[in-house]
């Protein structure tokens, strides 16, 4: 009897917890079936220690952009997988923003090894800007290997976030036909000798 009462009390305590874990925003903005499927994915992410807010936001994005329920569920599920792979690449210490950015990089076709390498070179510094720049470069049409090399070079040299942003702009300008980094001219040509009357 005592055990049954304990079980009952436990259930009563647990049910409100389950109810609170359900995201009200999903129920408000999506149809019932879609909201339930998305919630399942969110719960799965929570149980794996992955951030859940990016998944909710993805579903809400789909709702605002007028996507069908199937598309929303598929996009949230894909992001769930990408977040998992991002966490595998960056480890448990990665922030939600870093994991979200890394998921975008994986979606753009970059390999997880590039993210791991970037993290080891940045040695504790935030990764959001370098990853976002890396993703942008690939989206601009720079081959992933070349984009990765450029970003890793900056990371290796300990450059601040501003220089990653400058790299992105530099490459955008190059691809648009402008001149990039004019200060990086040929170096060290000696001054000329005096004029010679011939």
């Amino acid at each position: 009897m005592s055990a049954a009462r304990t079980l009952l009390v436990s259930l009563l305590l647990t049910l409100p917890g389950v109810a609170a874990a359900q995201d009200a925003r999903l129920a408000e903005r999506l149809d019932g079936a879609t909201a339930a499927s998305v919630q399942q994915t969110v719960d799965s992410a929570r149980s794996r220690g992955l951030p859940t807010e990016p998944l909710v936001q993805k579903a809400l994005e789909g709702g605002t952009l007028g996507a069908s329920g199937d598309k929303i569920v598929a996009a949230v599920s894909a992001l769930h997988g990408q977040l998992g792979r991002a966490r595998s690449a960056l480890g448990r210490s990665a922030s939600e923003s870093e994991l979200t950015a890394a998921a975008g990089a994986l979606r753009a076709g970059l390999p997880p090894s590039a993210l791991s390498r970037l993290q080891s070179l940045r040695s504790g510094k935030p990764l959001v800007v370098p990853i976002a720049v890396l993703t942008d470069l690939v989206a601009e049409g720079v081959p992933p290997e070349q984009a990765t090399r450029s970003v890793l070079d900056l990371a290796r040299e300990g450059r601040p976030d501003d220089e990653f942003v400058a790299l992105r702009r530099q490459i955008q300008i190059r691809r648009q036909g402008g001149t990039a980094d004019p200060m990086n001219r040929p170096a060290l040509r000696p001054a000329a000798d005096p004029p010679v009357d011939r």
């Binding site: 996507a67 400058a166 402008g178 060290l188 000798d193």
Partner: protein, 393 residues
Amino acid sequence: MTRTRSLLVCIALSAGAPPAAAQLAGTLDMGAGTYRPERAIAGGIASIVPAMQYRSGLFELSAIGVYSDAPAGRWNFQGGAAAAVSTPRFGIFQVEAIGQAEWTSHYRVSGTTRFSAGARAYLRPKGANFWVGRFHGQASSLGTRRPLQRNEIGGSATLGAVRVEFSLANTKVDRSLMFGGPDPRTDSDSLSAGPVTSGRQVERLVLTDAVLSGRWRIRSLEFDASLGRRFSRTTPETTIWGVSASRGIAPSVAVVAAAGRSGSDPVTSVPGARYFALGLRLKVGQPVLPPAPAPATASMTAPFRIGPALGAAREIVIQAPTAEGVELAGDFTDWKPVPLQPWGENAWRALLPISPGLHRLAIRIDGGAWQAPPGTRALTSEFGGEVAEVVVE
């Protein structure tokens, strides 16, 4: 005079550009190597090369100096400065007015000066650049002044990881003036090689420099190479070339190496030389980059800005002059459309709580399709619409 006044007016107008757009950067190269000038003694040489560049809006100023210390106390200094004012881009078309000054100073020998002013017209289709230019000026050397004229044409393009540039520059200078003779421009028929006026030789030097150059990056090494040929009926034809490489070894320090053959300058009679040098480059400030090109379509011409934190919120401003209503949705509004308020004549504004980090958002003008804000790179959402991702610091 009118041209000078126009240039000054352009510079003054450009100086009024928002200070936020101004960028200043500089480098200091220090190194040593070998130097083999034409008709002079070869030897070791040490060089210091300060350079700076300033850009504010459509105005750009750059300056470079080269101080070299040669054996036996001989030293040379070579300086150059250029100011340029560009028009805004009209589609793929842009015009630039440029003033340039170059000068040299030498141990126990008078130096040279050269001033010129002119304009370049650019065509800038995607991925390439083409230009034509015309300059007029005056050079002073060995106690005489010579008017000069330069016409140029060039192009550049990005081919994979390599940036390639080609230019042709045709220079004309009246050499008769260096002997103190009458101004040959009063007698245009005599402006060919050979004829004699008042017992003095009158000669117009005409030379064309064709230069092909490239820049590419392999891992952390950056290479530059150039190869040029001078064509002329009145001066010796020469081949000029240069190669250099730099590798960053710290955030603001790079190792640089350079070698090449610089051409003599028939305008000022400064001799050419072969050289090799190895040194360090110290960088100050961020690289000065040209202003981002104007967006291509009318609907994308308005800038988009997320300002710094104002308490718990940040100011978002979108300029949409013809819009009757602008809405914004993003992961910081739970993707609920938020109407922006009219702000001034052309802008729309909202104060919204946005945390630092990566954010995804889109705007909608007059109830139309969701799109990336102007000035951001558009991403195609999995859901078919257009969105943007921005990093908020």
